[in-house]
Symmetry: C2
Subunit: 434 residues, 2 copies
């Protein structure tokens, strides 16, 4: 009964956002799960294959990114300071048509996976084309992922014939036995304005039949409703409701332009929401009504969106901006607190992706996705409490990362892949883009 | 004619925000100034005391923080998620009354100086009590600073008798010959609502007589006008205008609640403005009308504010949030671009503080305040251009820092002070606060 990894002398943040008193303790990891934890006094004699003396660093659950398009790292900073439709139609869609292929998705997703792990993210929900290549990249890098194959009613990378989009997605899902155990396959219908009602219903039916998550971009801009062909309701959310799309395995991404009735529907259906505050700001889409969502007990997670609309994948920065922007949205500094966004980025994000009670807290029996945050830095001194993780910490403060009981980064060194090679490959791909 | 420091193989960002094509080159530093620069082909044989091979890292002017209360690092994260007046009256003012003393200002300003240098800031405008101790801390750490002594009509740390506040400030200024050449002394009148018209006029007269900058917090919240005793105008800015306070050596800090007429006055008087976007969000004060300021060619710089209301002093993060928030303020993603905030954080910030044409660009003859940014990181790949410094880089990406021709940080190691001792001293001081 040897422990795989034993972390000692760590300041334990067991339940982010719960307001607990932090104490120094140990965590023992075995077979991918948290086996035991407790104060240092209860450590006793515990043989371990690997022992990490945290030296007072903070140990917390890994962060959960509920929305990303990992391979879009290739387009990071390619077209900044533009309105969403201009950005999408004049820059991103043409760049995707020209440059997205299996090799690009593999290398650029791998770069994103490295970036996320190095910033403390241990679970990501990704949506893109050639999802099999993204899944392969995540597996190799050691990142847990929900990898969703994109469905859209246009000729798309890897799916030149739109009529084949559901079948191609079914094929990806049903081949999941070939994928790494860290990967959950899923379906991503692009949006109500790029998928017909029929496509939406068929893709949701596919997800239901396989009992897997279904994602869709919804209500990102104020113009969206006007772009929906064959609208069945007078808002994007009511359109989805009329089509029977909303349930607890549907993740509605963005939800910036939702009214009270939309929020009531989302709450009633127990649909999940992913908000991407930085992307919403950068594309001038707006500010999602997070406080109103939390009042209704809607389960909300944070997402970075793709690197082309952010431009980084650091959830610490996302937490910071999320909390601060909500204070302006409501003009109330108390409406959304640091603890609330810590919970969004851990426990609630895990629940959004179907990992409720398995991830997002340090508990015996939970999956061992853990990060060690170095507090011994000038910008984290003094450390009165975990609010500082939101308002001052950054991804670069993460020292070590464990995913599924395996050490994937230690002392800022990524242990799973050749980072230099990955960066060089992406730079090479970028040469033809610029 | 030996060069002091020679930086080779650097990607040169000479004029942040100007849209230049970046090229690899060298910069030679001598006697605190940029002596020569050019493409690598023109390097020739150039003996130097210290040579730094940048290996493709980006060299740019150091960042300028136009508003900080450095010693408030002691109160970082002590009281988050509160409205400004509650935060100030129930938490910060009592904590200051109990804990601010010369030793506290010295050690906590030193921590802030270390934090800023490590995040690429080379010039800060600081305003606090015991400004002589802050100046001492900045000097020792090697940070260039405008150190302003606070004036307020309450009993204040170091100035128990308010009637003495102008005299105490004059004494600090006139003893500046004892200070390090990196320090410019200045006057900081707290605000129109905590300083009487007479105190404002006397403190501005003092600054004018010594030809030094004058700072004041103005129009931070919508309630400010109602709190001004003896208001001479119907807005805080018009109050200052009526008192004859506004000129090109007056820095108006915040300016969140300013109307068109206020902006016209600021432009006409050529008064300088410092905005602190994160502080404005966190305290739910609002969003400063930056686009409207830039339209009027008002000279604006970025500030972090104190660590208690931010909670970090990283200007890269401040640039990011500033650009993104302005897109929401205007609902126009084009209104304030990445290049605009890069200029604010360098050239324009330098102009706000009286260093126009001497700092903020890499030019022959400029003061040698330079930073080297490591691009060889997953979140900065690929690097299509300097917009990424705003939307993806963080202070932790800064590899080396030169201030006034002296290397103060190299390969993330602070070369001037004992960082561990400084952090330990601040932790010790924090024990009595919590």
């Amino acid at each position: 009964m040897t422990t795989d990894i034993l972390i000692t002398n760590a300041l334990l943040l067991r339940e982010p956002g719960a307001g607990e008193e932090l104490e120094r303790g140990f965590v023992a990891v075995r077979d991918g799960r948290i086996d035991r934890l407790g104060p240092m006094a209860e450590l006793g004699d515990r043989p371990a294959a690997t022992t990490i003396d945290a030296g007072g660093a903070l140990l917390m659950p890994g962060l959960v990114n509920t929305h990303c398009h990992a391979a879009m790292t290739l387009f990071r900073g390619l077209a900044d300071d533009l309105e969403l439709t201009v950005w999408l139609n004049d820059h991103i869609f043409p760049a995707e048509a020209a440059h997205v292929n299996p090799e690009m998705v593999y290398w650029c997703s791998k770069l994103a996976a490295a970036e996320m792990i190095m910033a403390g993210t241990t679970l990501v929900a990704d949506g893109y084309f050639f999802a099999d290549q993204a899944a392969r990249a995540f597996s190799e890098t050691g990142l847990r992922a929900v990898a969703a194959q994109g469905v859209i009613d246009f000729p798309a990378p890897g799916v030149p014939e739109p009529a084949e989009n559901i079948r191609a997605t079914a094929r990806f899902i049903d081949e999941r036995q070939d994928l790494h155990p860290l990967i959950t396959p899923a379906v991503f219908a692009h949006s109500p304005y790029t998928c017909s009602p029929e496509t939406l219903q068929k893709s949701k039916a596919l997800a239901r039949s396989r009992n897997i998550p279904f994602f869709i971009h919804v209500a990102e801009t104020g113009q969206e409703q006007g772009r929906i062909a064959g609208a069945r309701g007078d808002s994007p959310v009511r359109h989805l409701e009329a089509l029977g799309i909303l349930d607890e395995q549907t993740v509605c991404v963005h939800c910036v332009w939702v009214d009270e009735e939309d929020l009531d529907i989302l709450a009633r259906r127990n649909a999940r929401v992913s908000i991407c505050p930085q992307s919403h700001l950068k594309l001038a889409s707006g500010m999602a009504p997070l406080a109103a969502m939390l009042e209704r007990s809607i389960t909300v997670g944070l997402g970075t969106d793709g690197a082309a609309s952010n431009n980084g994948l650091d959830l610490f920065r996302e937490m910071d901006i999320c909390a601060k922007v909500q204070k302006i949205k409501t003009m109330d500094p108390v409406a959304v607190r640091a603890g609330d966004v810590l919970r969004l980025a851990t426990r609630d994000g895990a629940a959004v992706l179907g990992f409720a009670d398995r991830l997002g807290a340090i508990r015996e029996g939970s999956l061992a996705d853990l990060i060690l945050v170095d507090l011994d830095r000038p910008h984290l001194q003094p450390f009165y409490g975990p609010d500082l993780l939101v308002y001052a910490a950054g991804g670069a403060d993460v020292r070590s990362v464990i995913v599924n009981g395996k050490l994937v980064m230690h002392n800022r060194q990524l242990l799973t892949i050749d980072l230099d090679e990955t960066m060089a490959r992406v730079r090479e791909l970028a040469r033809s883009v610029d």
